[in-house]
Protein backbone atom coordinates (compact mmCIF):
# COMPACT_ATOMS: atom_id res chain seq x y z
CA UNK A 1 0.00 0.00 0.00
CA UNK A 2 1.34 3.37 -0.96
CA UNK A 3 1.85 6.15 1.55
CA UNK A 4 0.60 8.66 -0.99
CA UNK A 5 -3.03 7.56 -0.54
CA UNK A 6 -5.25 10.36 0.65
CA UNK A 7 -8.69 10.64 2.15
CA UNK A 8 -11.25 12.85 0.49
CA UNK A 9 -14.94 13.55 0.95
CA UNK A 10 -16.64 13.23 -2.44
CA UNK A 11 -20.00 12.40 -3.96
CA UNK A 12 -20.26 9.10 -5.85
CA UNK A 13 -20.27 11.06 -9.08
CA UNK A 14 -17.14 13.00 -8.16
CA UNK A 15 -15.43 9.80 -7.00
CA UNK A 16 -16.18 8.26 -10.41
CA UNK A 17 -14.75 11.38 -12.05
CA UNK A 18 -11.66 11.13 -9.85
CA UNK A 19 -11.21 7.54 -11.02
CA UNK A 20 -11.60 8.76 -14.62
CA UNK A 21 -8.95 11.42 -14.02
CA UNK A 22 -6.51 8.72 -12.93
CA UNK A 23 -7.47 6.42 -15.81
CA UNK A 24 -7.22 9.34 -18.25
CA UNK A 25 -9.35 7.75 -21.02
CA UNK A 26 -8.63 8.79 -24.61
CA UNK A 27 -12.18 9.54 -25.67
CA UNK A 28 -15.34 10.27 -23.70
CA UNK A 29 -18.53 10.91 -25.67
CA UNK A 30 -21.14 12.28 -23.28
CA UNK A 31 -24.75 13.36 -23.12
CA UNK A 32 -26.24 14.81 -19.93
CA UNK A 33 -28.90 13.05 -17.87
CA UNK A 34 -29.78 13.14 -14.18
CA UNK A 35 -28.49 11.58 -11.90
CA UNK A 36 -25.37 10.80 -13.94
CA UNK A 37 -24.63 14.54 -14.16
CA UNK A 38 -22.09 14.84 -11.30
CA UNK A 39 -19.82 12.28 -13.00
CA UNK A 40 -19.43 14.12 -16.27
CA UNK A 41 -19.67 17.65 -14.93
CA UNK A 42 -16.84 16.94 -12.48
CA UNK A 43 -14.78 15.19 -15.12
CA UNK A 44 -15.09 17.88 -17.83
CA UNK A 45 -13.89 20.40 -15.25
CA UNK A 46 -10.86 18.19 -14.62
CA UNK A 47 -10.24 18.10 -18.38
CA UNK A 48 -10.73 21.87 -18.68
CA UNK A 49 -8.18 22.35 -15.89
CA UNK A 50 -5.70 20.30 -17.90
CA UNK A 51 -5.51 17.43 -15.39
CA UNK A 52 -6.63 14.86 -17.97
CA UNK A 53 -6.22 14.98 -21.73
CA UNK A 54 -9.36 13.15 -22.69
CA UNK A 55 -11.14 14.09 -25.91
CA UNK A 56 -14.64 14.99 -24.71
CA UNK A 57 -17.24 14.70 -27.48
CA UNK A 58 -20.56 16.47 -26.86
CA UNK A 59 -22.97 14.30 -28.80
CA UNK A 60 -26.65 14.80 -29.57
CA UNK A 61 -28.06 11.78 -27.72
CA UNK A 62 -27.07 8.73 -25.70
CA UNK A 63 -27.49 6.62 -28.82
CA UNK A 64 -24.74 8.72 -30.37
CA UNK A 65 -22.70 8.64 -27.17
CA UNK A 66 -22.54 4.85 -27.24
CA UNK A 67 -22.03 4.85 -31.03
CA UNK A 68 -19.08 7.24 -30.72
CA UNK A 69 -17.64 5.20 -27.85
CA UNK A 70 -17.89 2.07 -30.01
CA UNK A 71 -16.20 3.84 -32.92
CA UNK A 72 -13.39 5.17 -30.75
CA UNK A 73 -12.80 1.89 -28.93
CA UNK A 74 -12.85 0.00 -32.25
CA UNK A 75 -10.26 2.46 -33.57
CA UNK A 76 -8.00 1.28 -30.76
CA UNK A 77 -8.27 3.62 -27.78
CA UNK A 78 -9.89 3.67 -24.33
CA UNK A 79 -13.41 5.08 -24.63
CA UNK A 80 -15.78 5.62 -21.74
CA UNK A 81 -19.13 7.21 -21.08
CA UNK A 82 -21.69 7.64 -18.30
CA UNK A 83 -25.47 7.52 -18.26
CA UNK A 84 -28.73 6.76 -16.47
CA UNK A 85 -32.30 5.67 -17.04
CA UNK A 86 -33.76 6.86 -20.36
CA UNK A 87 -30.24 7.43 -21.58
CA UNK A 88 -29.49 3.74 -21.17
CA UNK A 89 -32.81 2.91 -22.80
CA UNK A 90 -31.84 5.01 -25.82
CA UNK A 91 -28.40 3.39 -25.88
CA UNK A 92 -29.85 -0.07 -25.71
CA UNK A 93 -29.64 -0.55 -29.48
CA UNK A 94 -25.87 0.03 -29.34
CA UNK A 95 -25.08 -1.87 -26.11
CA UNK A 96 -25.08 -5.37 -27.68
CA UNK A 97 -22.98 -4.01 -30.55
CA UNK A 98 -20.26 -3.03 -28.07
CA UNK A 99 -20.35 -6.50 -26.49
CA UNK A 100 -20.75 -8.37 -29.80
CA UNK A 101 -17.71 -6.59 -31.23
CA UNK A 102 -15.85 -7.38 -27.97
CA UNK A 103 -15.00 -3.75 -27.19
CA UNK A 104 -14.05 -3.14 -23.55
CA UNK A 105 -15.88 0.17 -23.10
CA UNK A 106 -16.35 1.33 -19.50
CA UNK A 107 -19.66 2.95 -18.61
CA UNK A 108 -20.37 4.56 -15.25
CA UNK A 109 -24.03 4.27 -14.44
CA UNK A 110 -26.01 6.17 -11.87
CA UNK A 111 -29.00 3.83 -11.76
CA UNK A 112 -32.42 5.45 -11.96
CA UNK A 113 -36.09 4.60 -12.50
CA UNK A 114 -37.44 4.47 -16.04
CA UNK A 115 -40.50 6.24 -17.48
CA UNK A 116 -43.52 6.38 -17.53
CA UNK A 117 -44.37 8.12 -15.24
CA UNK A 118 -41.24 10.27 -15.27
CA UNK A 119 -39.09 9.87 -12.19
CA UNK A 120 -35.48 10.95 -11.80
CA UNK A 121 -34.69 9.04 -8.61
CA UNK A 122 -32.72 5.92 -7.92
CA UNK A 123 -33.70 2.32 -8.48
CA UNK A 124 -32.28 -0.49 -10.60
CA UNK A 125 -34.80 -0.66 -13.44
CA UNK A 126 -32.48 0.81 -16.09
CA UNK A 127 -29.53 -1.52 -15.53
CA UNK A 128 -31.79 -4.54 -15.04
CA UNK A 129 -33.54 -3.81 -18.32
CA UNK A 130 -30.24 -4.20 -20.18
CA UNK A 131 -28.88 -7.10 -18.15
CA UNK A 132 -28.94 -9.56 -21.06
CA UNK A 133 -27.00 -7.45 -23.56
CA UNK A 134 -23.56 -8.92 -22.90
CA UNK A 135 -22.15 -6.26 -20.56
CA UNK A 136 -20.33 -7.00 -17.33
CA UNK A 137 -22.30 -5.34 -14.50
CA UNK A 138 -20.83 -4.50 -11.10
CA UNK A 139 -22.91 -2.94 -8.32
CA UNK A 140 -21.37 -0.50 -5.85
CA UNK A 141 -22.59 -0.09 -2.28
CA UNK A 142 -20.96 3.24 -1.51
CA UNK A 143 -18.66 5.96 -2.84
CA UNK A 144 -15.48 4.03 -2.06
CA UNK A 145 -16.75 1.07 -4.08
CA UNK A 146 -17.64 3.29 -7.03
CA UNK A 147 -14.05 4.49 -7.12
CA UNK A 148 -12.54 1.02 -6.68
CA UNK A 149 -14.94 -0.71 -9.06
CA UNK A 150 -14.03 1.69 -11.87
CA UNK A 151 -10.46 0.31 -11.91
CA UNK A 152 -11.48 -3.30 -11.33
CA UNK A 153 -14.11 -3.12 -14.08
CA UNK A 154 -11.73 -1.49 -16.55
CA UNK A 155 -9.03 -4.06 -15.98
CA UNK A 156 -11.55 -6.89 -16.14
CA UNK A 157 -13.16 -5.54 -19.31
CA UNK A 158 -9.83 -5.19 -21.09
CA UNK A 159 -8.70 -8.63 -19.96
CA UNK A 160 -11.71 -10.51 -21.38
CA UNK A 161 -12.56 -7.89 -24.02
CA UNK A 162 -16.14 -7.22 -23.00
CA UNK A 163 -17.73 -3.89 -22.05
CA UNK A 164 -18.50 -3.19 -18.39
CA UNK A 165 -20.91 -1.07 -16.36
CA UNK A 166 -20.05 0.21 -12.90
CA UNK A 167 -23.36 0.85 -11.19
CA UNK A 168 -24.04 3.24 -8.33
CA UNK A 169 -27.46 4.11 -6.91
CA UNK A 170 -28.84 7.33 -8.37
CA UNK A 171 -28.76 10.17 -5.80
CA UNK A 172 -28.27 7.83 -2.81
CA UNK A 173 -24.68 7.24 -3.90
CA UNK A 174 -24.13 9.55 -6.88
CA UNK A 175 -25.06 12.74 -5.00
CA UNK A 176 -24.13 11.87 -1.39
CA UNK A 177 -20.80 12.96 0.02
CA UNK A 178 -18.86 10.23 1.79
CA UNK A 179 -15.26 9.75 2.85
CA UNK A 180 -13.12 7.62 0.63
CA UNK A 181 -9.51 6.78 0.12
CA UNK A 182 -7.93 7.80 -3.18
CA UNK A 183 -4.89 5.88 -4.38
CA UNK A 184 -1.95 7.79 -5.71
CA UNK A 185 -1.74 8.41 -9.45
CA UNK A 186 1.22 6.19 -10.19
CA UNK A 187 -0.27 3.23 -8.27
CA UNK A 188 -3.40 3.44 -10.40
CA UNK A 189 -1.38 3.86 -13.57
CA UNK A 190 0.63 0.74 -12.81
CA UNK A 191 -2.50 -1.21 -11.93
CA UNK A 192 -4.47 -0.44 -15.09
CA UNK A 193 -1.46 -0.34 -17.41
CA UNK A 194 -1.42 0.68 -21.06
CA UNK A 195 -4.31 -0.34 -23.29
CA UNK A 196 -3.22 -2.91 -25.87
CA UNK A 197 -6.19 -3.74 -28.10
CA UNK A 198 -6.21 -7.17 -29.75
CA UNK A 199 -8.14 -6.07 -32.84
CA UNK A 200 -8.40 -2.43 -33.83
CA UNK A 201 -9.32 -0.47 -36.90
CA UNK A 202 -6.24 1.76 -37.03
CA UNK A 203 -3.96 -1.25 -37.24
CA UNK A 204 -2.80 -0.48 -40.80
CA UNK A 205 -0.55 -3.52 -40.98
CA UNK A 206 -3.50 -5.83 -40.33
CA UNK A 207 -6.60 -4.21 -41.80
CA UNK A 208 -9.88 -5.55 -40.42
CA UNK A 209 -13.61 -5.15 -40.83
CA UNK A 210 -15.65 -4.71 -37.64
CA UNK A 211 -19.34 -5.56 -37.40
CA UNK A 212 -19.84 -7.44 -40.69
CA UNK A 213 -22.93 -9.46 -41.54
CA UNK A 214 -22.98 -13.00 -40.14
CA UNK A 215 -25.72 -15.18 -41.57
CA UNK A 216 -27.17 -18.47 -40.28
CA UNK A 217 -23.93 -20.26 -41.19
CA UNK A 218 -21.79 -18.37 -38.63
CA UNK A 219 -23.85 -16.08 -36.32
CA UNK A 220 -24.51 -18.88 -33.82
CA UNK A 221 -20.77 -19.58 -33.45
CA UNK A 222 -19.99 -15.90 -32.81
CA UNK A 223 -22.58 -15.82 -30.04
CA UNK A 224 -21.24 -19.04 -28.50
CA UNK A 225 -17.76 -17.54 -28.46
CA UNK A 226 -19.19 -14.48 -26.70
CA UNK A 227 -20.75 -16.73 -24.04
CA UNK A 228 -17.27 -18.21 -23.57
CA UNK A 229 -15.83 -14.75 -22.95
CA UNK A 230 -18.43 -14.11 -20.22
CA UNK A 231 -17.52 -17.44 -18.63
CA UNK A 232 -13.92 -16.27 -18.28
CA UNK A 233 -14.95 -13.19 -16.30
CA UNK A 234 -15.43 -14.81 -12.89
CA UNK A 235 -11.95 -16.33 -12.74
CA UNK A 236 -10.28 -13.15 -13.99
CA UNK A 237 -12.30 -11.10 -11.50
CA UNK A 238 -10.80 -13.12 -8.62
CA UNK A 239 -7.26 -12.43 -9.81
CA UNK A 240 -7.86 -8.75 -10.46
CA UNK A 241 -9.49 -8.26 -7.04
CA UNK A 242 -6.51 -9.99 -5.44
CA UNK A 243 -4.11 -7.62 -7.17
CA UNK A 244 -6.29 -4.68 -6.26
CA UNK A 245 -6.30 -5.74 -2.60
CA UNK A 246 -2.51 -5.64 -2.64
CA UNK A 247 -2.40 -2.02 -3.75
CA UNK A 248 -5.45 -0.71 -1.90
CA UNK A 249 -5.89 -2.91 1.16
CA UNK A 250 -9.53 -3.38 0.17
CA UNK A 251 -10.36 -6.97 -0.59
CA UNK A 252 -13.39 -7.41 -2.81
CA UNK A 253 -15.04 -10.63 -3.87
CA UNK A 254 -17.75 -11.63 -6.31
CA UNK A 255 -20.13 -10.72 -3.50
CA UNK A 256 -19.85 -9.85 0.17
CA UNK A 257 -20.93 -12.28 2.87
CA UNK A 258 -21.89 -10.34 5.98
CA UNK A 259 -22.38 -12.42 9.14
CA UNK A 260 -23.64 -15.35 7.06
CA UNK A 261 -21.69 -18.20 8.72
CA UNK A 262 -24.26 -19.12 11.36
CA UNK A 263 -27.20 -17.15 9.96
CA UNK A 264 -30.66 -18.69 10.03
CA UNK A 265 -32.19 -15.85 8.02
CA UNK A 266 -30.43 -13.82 5.37
CA UNK A 267 -31.18 -10.98 3.03
CA UNK A 268 -29.71 -10.69 -0.45
CA UNK A 269 -29.45 -7.16 -1.85
CA UNK A 270 -27.41 -5.07 -4.28
CA UNK A 271 -26.30 -1.45 -4.16
CA UNK A 272 -26.59 1.09 -1.35
CA UNK A 273 -29.39 -0.79 0.44
CA UNK A 274 -26.81 -3.43 1.37
CA UNK A 275 -25.20 -0.78 3.59
CA UNK A 276 -28.50 -0.09 5.33
CA UNK A 277 -29.09 -3.83 5.68
CA UNK A 278 -25.72 -4.25 7.43
CA UNK A 279 -26.88 -1.86 10.16
CA UNK A 280 -30.16 -3.77 10.47
CA UNK A 281 -28.22 -7.05 10.72
CA UNK A 282 -25.95 -5.60 13.43
CA UNK A 283 -28.86 -4.41 15.54
CA UNK A 284 -30.77 -7.68 15.21
CA UNK A 285 -27.62 -9.62 16.08
CA UNK A 286 -27.34 -7.58 19.29
CA UNK A 287 -30.82 -8.82 20.17
CA UNK A 288 -29.61 -12.37 19.60
CA UNK A 289 -31.19 -13.02 16.21
CA UNK A 290 -29.06 -15.01 13.81
CA UNK A 291 -29.35 -12.93 10.68
CA UNK A 292 -26.99 -12.13 7.82
CA UNK A 293 -26.60 -10.47 4.46
CA UNK A 294 -25.26 -11.37 1.05
CA UNK A 295 -24.39 -8.28 -0.96
CA UNK A 296 -24.30 -8.73 -4.72
CA UNK A 297 -21.37 -7.08 -6.48
CA UNK A 298 -20.77 -8.83 -9.79
CA UNK A 299 -24.26 -9.26 -11.22
CA UNK A 300 -23.31 -10.09 -14.83
CA UNK A 301 -21.93 -12.64 -15.13
CA UNK A 302 -23.80 -14.12 -12.15
CA UNK A 303 -21.69 -16.42 -9.99
CA UNK A 304 -24.24 -19.20 -9.43
CA UNK A 305 -21.91 -21.81 -7.91
CA UNK A 306 -20.15 -19.45 -5.52
CA UNK A 307 -23.42 -17.89 -4.33
CA UNK A 308 -24.97 -21.31 -3.83
CA UNK A 309 -21.98 -22.25 -1.67
CA UNK A 310 -22.29 -19.07 0.40
CA UNK A 311 -26.04 -19.49 1.00
CA UNK A 312 -26.03 -23.27 1.33
CA UNK A 313 -26.68 -23.36 5.06
CA UNK A 314 -29.19 -20.52 5.25
CA UNK A 315 -32.67 -21.98 4.96
CA UNK A 316 -34.63 -18.73 5.03
CA UNK A 317 -33.65 -16.17 2.44
CA UNK A 318 -35.23 -12.90 1.40
CA UNK A 319 -34.14 -11.35 -1.88
CA UNK A 320 -34.54 -7.60 -2.25
CA UNK A 321 -35.03 -6.36 -5.80
CA UNK A 322 -35.07 -2.67 -6.61
CA UNK A 323 -36.68 -3.41 -9.96
CA UNK A 324 -39.66 -5.12 -11.55
CA UNK A 325 -39.83 -7.70 -14.26
CA UNK A 326 -43.45 -7.33 -15.28
CA UNK A 327 -45.19 -10.67 -15.65
CA UNK A 328 -42.24 -12.46 -14.11
CA UNK A 329 -40.69 -12.81 -10.67
CA UNK A 330 -38.08 -10.22 -9.73
CA UNK A 331 -34.75 -10.85 -11.51
CA UNK A 332 -32.34 -11.06 -8.55
CA UNK A 333 -34.74 -13.41 -6.75
CA UNK A 334 -34.86 -15.63 -9.83
CA UNK A 335 -31.07 -15.78 -9.92
CA UNK A 336 -30.85 -16.76 -6.26
CA UNK A 337 -33.46 -19.50 -6.70
CA UNK A 338 -31.58 -20.66 -9.77
CA UNK A 339 -28.32 -20.82 -7.79
CA UNK A 340 -29.77 -22.84 -4.93
CA UNK A 341 -31.32 -25.40 -7.25
CA UNK A 342 -27.90 -26.99 -7.50
CA UNK A 343 -27.81 -27.81 -3.76
CA UNK A 344 -29.36 -31.29 -3.63
CA UNK A 345 -32.13 -32.40 -1.26
CA UNK A 346 -32.51 -29.11 0.54
CA UNK A 347 -35.68 -27.10 0.82
CA UNK A 348 -35.16 -23.36 0.94
CA UNK A 349 -37.76 -20.80 1.85
CA UNK A 350 -37.09 -17.86 -0.47
CA UNK A 351 -39.11 -14.66 -0.14
CA UNK A 352 -39.08 -12.08 -2.91
CA UNK A 353 -39.30 -8.42 -1.95
CA UNK A 354 -39.58 -5.43 -4.26
CA UNK A 355 -38.50 -2.16 -2.67
CA UNK A 356 -37.50 1.41 -3.30
CA UNK A 357 -38.93 1.95 -6.78
CA UNK A 358 -38.59 5.50 -8.06
CA UNK A 359 -36.35 6.47 -5.14
CA UNK A 360 -38.76 5.46 -2.33
CA UNK A 361 -36.61 5.53 0.82
CA UNK A 362 -35.70 2.27 2.49
CA UNK A 363 -34.59 2.76 6.05
CA UNK A 364 -32.94 0.49 8.58
CA UNK A 365 -36.23 -0.12 10.36
CA UNK A 366 -37.90 -1.20 7.10
CA UNK A 367 -35.28 -3.87 6.71
CA UNK A 368 -35.52 -4.92 10.35
CA UNK A 369 -39.26 -5.26 9.87
CA UNK A 370 -38.69 -7.33 6.73
CA UNK A 371 -36.43 -9.65 8.75
CA UNK A 372 -39.26 -10.19 11.20
CA UNK A 373 -41.88 -10.94 8.51
CA UNK A 374 -43.09 -14.43 7.80
CA UNK A 375 -41.19 -15.40 4.69
CA UNK A 376 -42.84 -17.60 2.11
CA UNK A 377 -42.27 -18.39 -1.52
CA UNK A 378 -45.83 -17.90 -2.64
CA UNK A 379 -46.12 -14.18 -3.12
CA UNK A 380 -43.91 -11.16 -3.71
CA UNK A 381 -43.93 -8.65 -0.86
CA UNK A 382 -43.28 -4.93 -1.10
CA UNK A 383 -41.25 -2.76 1.27
CA UNK A 384 -42.50 0.77 1.81
CA UNK A 385 -45.56 0.44 -0.44
CA UNK A 386 -48.52 2.61 0.55
Amino acid sequence: MSKENKNLALTGGAAAAEALRQINPDVMPVYPITPQTPIVETFVKIVADGEADTEIIDVESEHSAMSAAIGAQAAGVRAMTASSSQGIMLMSEMLPIASGMRLPILMLVSARAISAPINIHGDHQDVMAVRDLGWIQIFSENVQEVYDNAFIALKLAEKVRLPAMVIMDGFTTSHSVENLEILDNSTVKNFIGEYNPKNYLLDFENPKTFGPVALPNSYFEFKRAQIGAMDEVIEEYFDICKNYAEISGRDYGLFESYKLEDAEKAIVAAGSTAGTAKMAVDELREQGEKVGLLKIKLFRPFSYHEIAKALKNVKNIAVLDRTVSFGSRAPLCNEIKNSLYEIPDTKYNIQSYIYGLGGREVLKDDIKKAFQDNWNEKETKYIGLK
Binding site: P207, T209, A214, S218
Partner: protein
Protein backbone atom coordinates in the same frame (compact mmCIF):
# COMPACT_ATOMS: atom_id res chain seq x y z
CA UNK B 1 -16.01 -23.26 -38.55
CA UNK B 2 -16.34 -24.25 -34.89
CA UNK B 3 -17.03 -21.50 -32.32
CA UNK B 4 -13.67 -22.19 -30.73
CA UNK B 5 -11.76 -21.12 -33.83
CA UNK B 6 -14.01 -18.34 -35.06
CA UNK B 7 -12.69 -14.75 -35.18
CA UNK B 8 -13.17 -12.79 -31.96
CA UNK B 9 -15.97 -10.22 -32.14
CA UNK B 10 -16.73 -11.24 -35.74
CA UNK B 11 -13.86 -9.11 -37.05
CA UNK B 12 -12.60 -10.04 -40.49
CA UNK B 13 -8.91 -9.74 -41.22
CA UNK B 14 -7.92 -8.69 -44.72
CA UNK B 15 -4.98 -9.83 -46.80
CA UNK B 16 -4.33 -6.77 -48.96
CA UNK B 17 -2.25 -8.74 -51.42
CA UNK B 18 -5.28 -10.88 -52.21
CA UNK B 19 -7.92 -8.16 -52.09
CA UNK B 20 -9.46 -7.01 -55.39
CA UNK B 21 -8.41 -3.55 -56.60
CA UNK B 22 -11.21 -1.10 -57.26
CA UNK B 23 -9.01 0.28 -60.06
CA UNK B 24 -10.03 -2.82 -62.03
CA UNK B 25 -13.56 -1.43 -62.38
CA UNK B 26 -12.36 1.67 -64.27
CA UNK B 27 -13.74 2.44 -67.73
CA UNK B 28 -12.60 6.08 -68.06
CA UNK B 29 -9.18 7.05 -66.74
CA UNK B 30 -8.30 10.53 -65.40
CA UNK B 31 -4.95 11.95 -66.45
CA UNK B 32 -3.30 14.89 -64.71
CA UNK B 33 -1.60 17.53 -66.83
CA UNK B 34 1.17 18.27 -64.36
CA UNK B 35 2.11 21.53 -66.13
CA UNK B 36 -1.34 23.02 -65.58
CA UNK B 37 -1.95 21.59 -62.09
CA UNK B 38 -1.60 24.36 -59.45
CA UNK B 39 -1.74 21.97 -56.47
CA UNK B 40 -4.91 23.57 -55.06
CA UNK B 41 -6.12 20.25 -53.61
CA UNK B 42 -9.72 20.51 -54.87
CA UNK B 43 -9.59 17.06 -56.52
CA UNK B 44 -7.90 15.70 -53.39
CA UNK B 45 -10.86 16.67 -51.21
CA UNK B 46 -13.55 15.65 -53.72
CA UNK B 47 -12.20 12.20 -54.67
CA UNK B 48 -14.74 9.74 -53.17
CA UNK B 49 -12.11 6.99 -52.99
CA UNK B 50 -9.31 9.14 -51.53
CA UNK B 51 -7.21 7.97 -54.49
CA UNK B 52 -5.52 11.33 -55.05
CA UNK B 53 -2.47 12.58 -53.20
CA UNK B 54 0.21 15.20 -53.94
CA UNK B 55 3.50 14.21 -55.52
CA UNK B 56 6.82 15.72 -54.47
CA UNK B 57 6.17 18.83 -56.59
CA UNK B 58 2.74 19.23 -54.99
CA UNK B 59 0.88 18.19 -58.11
CA UNK B 60 -2.16 15.88 -58.06
CA UNK B 61 -1.07 12.25 -58.17
CA UNK B 62 -3.64 9.51 -58.77
CA UNK B 63 -3.37 5.97 -57.38
CA UNK B 64 -4.69 3.90 -60.31
CA UNK B 65 -4.98 0.77 -58.13
CA UNK B 66 -7.85 2.48 -56.35
CA UNK B 67 -9.26 5.06 -58.82
CA UNK B 68 -12.59 3.82 -60.20
CA UNK B 69 -12.68 6.45 -62.93
CA UNK B 70 -15.76 8.31 -61.75
CA UNK B 71 -14.53 11.63 -63.17
CA UNK B 72 -15.38 13.85 -60.22
CA UNK B 73 -11.78 15.17 -60.14
CA UNK B 74 -11.91 16.18 -63.80
CA UNK B 75 -15.18 18.01 -63.32
CA UNK B 76 -14.09 19.97 -60.20
CA UNK B 77 -10.56 20.89 -61.38
CA UNK B 78 -10.53 24.74 -61.66
CA UNK B 79 -7.66 24.59 -64.20
CA UNK B 80 -9.13 21.79 -66.32
CA UNK B 81 -5.84 20.03 -65.64
CA UNK B 82 -7.47 16.60 -65.31
CA UNK B 83 -8.92 14.97 -68.42
CA UNK B 84 -10.84 11.75 -68.73
CA UNK B 85 -9.82 9.36 -71.47
CA UNK B 86 -10.82 5.80 -72.28
CA UNK B 87 -9.01 3.31 -70.09
CA UNK B 88 -6.32 1.43 -71.96
Amino acid sequence: MSWKEIEEGATIGHDLTKSPKTGDWRYMKPRVDKKNCIGCGTCFSYCPEAAIDFDLERKADIDYDICKGCGVCASVCPKKAIRMAKNV
